[in-house]
Symmetry: C2
């Protein structure tokens, strides 16, 4: 078998990057040749995690077939989030915590998803099942992804198992979860250094609602005023993105990771704004709506919006 | 959560039936309400396995939404092999050893496939991971499925892990693998009691080749003459099935489980017959072609045929 290239989704977050690292390590320990790579550059939070645990950045690839026949996917399974030449490659395995999309295979393979808050929680179980010890630095990276995906266990996507595994990893990594976790989350919130486009688009995804694409972004901050003081600039950028891409609306969720509340900024059709007011039982005033207690796009933003369509 | 209905594929074989039983037992032990059911009547071999280990036959269902909201799939993942109202139900989990077909989910779930010879080999690992003891009768049923799917470890679909798990289950079930295994396989080979349609169609599946559906059946025997003595009757039935269903051909693999060789019977287009001769490097004479060493439709019949198209 060719070397297995292991990678997470495009526009990678901390789970996508570090799950590639920990899973490639697991495969190496099982005697397989595997290399963790990335499908794009990562953000400040991931950089902080890698630096904290002495990990070099991953090599970035766009296609894989020029260098191997065999790949492993972590933290994603849908083709549009994966490597560009996916259909020319054999998928050795998949480990993921998302819904199952358009994945198909010509032959049986190892495919494992679980409804946990983070891919690393599943990978921790695989390490245990294989009886492979997790080194201190890998444990730190795995913990970082769990903190990132669950917003320090405050997101409603968090499961009991994420908490249990997080505690165990913190013990191996010899860090205090609260202290390190807050430092990690804060490291990704330096809004002043970001352009308006980076603020709106940095973590944005498209969702089809009422037959039209709605763009929904999310940015974590320690003070929502870091974004609101640049509100006009950000709204103008969002409006440009709507016009250029024919979105029916752009909805940006600005999440305060300290209070676990969000503010929504919205531009787009009158129709979408009415749906947003219905979904979040509030009023859009000056393109802004309060989202108390909302931290998860996946669980608390997309489903209520979808329900109104 | 509603009671979880657990079932294998339509036209169930020993793995489909017994994996539902062992997985429902596992879920019960984890404190979940679960019931094993079947998507159809089973054959002689499965009946022999159930009787050998004091298991009552499963209730047969065609739809599930009238009695629950939640299901678990074993030994299949493709919608056309599953319950008729699959789209109205929430899939709690999937455990399977087949390629991944058209399965999608609206939310994350537990989904586990491995490239083993039998679903029960994966389920054995789940019992171990959960620390749940396998009772003697369940172990016997699990072993029966592994013997059935791997033709007593002779099929090329067999993996090292199937053998290891088979040995462990035989120890728990207190049976001799060879003796019980041969009795089990022979129990499914009573050709005299079968109609020509049952012989041809009993385990048949459709495959698209060259843009047309080809029907491929397989029957296990201890003496190929049990089928060949009724060759004209069986060929005539196969021809009727081709005509009625617009198949380009019907290919029936008659497998001697004692010698691990097969004979192929074929009716259909001249074109398909030429492809069959090319695929199996032999001559079709009187609608018959020798298939020495062939025991697995999945690995040794479908791929060589597909390659010629």
């Amino acid at each position: 078998m060719d070397k297995i290239l292991v990678f997470g989704h495009q526009n990678p977050d901390t789970d996508a990057i570090t799950s590639a690292i920990s899973y490639a390590y697991l495969l190496n320990q099982k005697g397989l040749e595997a290399e963790a790579v990335a499908l794009g550059e990562f953000g400040d939070e991931t950089a902080f995690a890698l630096k904290s645990f002495d990990q070099e950045p991953l090599r970035v690839i766009e296609t894989a077939a020029s260098e191997t026949t065999t790949i492993a996917l972590v933290d994603h399974n849908e083709s549009q989030q994966s490597v560009a030449d996916l259909k020319d490659l054999e998928v050795y395995s998949v480990v993921d915590h998302h819904k199952i999309g358009d994945f198909t295979s010509p032959a049986p393979l190892s495919f494992l998803t679980k409804p946990y808050g983070c891919t690393q929680t599943i990978l921790f179980e695989l390490f245990q099942q294989e009886g492979i010890e997790i080194p201190k630095n890998i444990a730190g990276l795995m913990l970082s992804a769990i903190i990132s995906d669950t917003l320090l266990f405050k997101s409603p996507t968090t499961t009991e198992q994420d908490k249990i595994v997080g505690e165990k990893l913190a013990a191996i990594a010899e860090v205090d979860i609260e202290t390190y976790g807050l430092d990690l989350l804060k490291s990704g919130t330096n809004v002043d250094a970001k352009s308006a486009t980076e603020i709106a688009e940095g973590d944005a995804k498209s969702f089809e609602m009422g037959g039209k694409p709605v763009r929904i972004g999310q940015i974590n901050v320690v003070d929502v005023d870091d974004v609101l003081k640049r509100k006009e600039e950000v709204l103008s950028t969002m409006q440009d993105l709507v016009t250029d891409n024919d979105y029916s609306a752009f909805f940006l969720v600005v999440t305060n990771i300290l209070t676990s509340d969000s503010e929504g900024l919205v531009v787009g059709s009158e129709d979408f704004i009415q749906h947003a007011e219905q979904a979040f039982a509030g009023k859009v005033t000056d393109n802004q709506i309060a989202l108390p207690g909302v931290v998860s796009r996946k669980k608390q933003v997309v489903p209520p919006l979808e329900k109104t369509f």
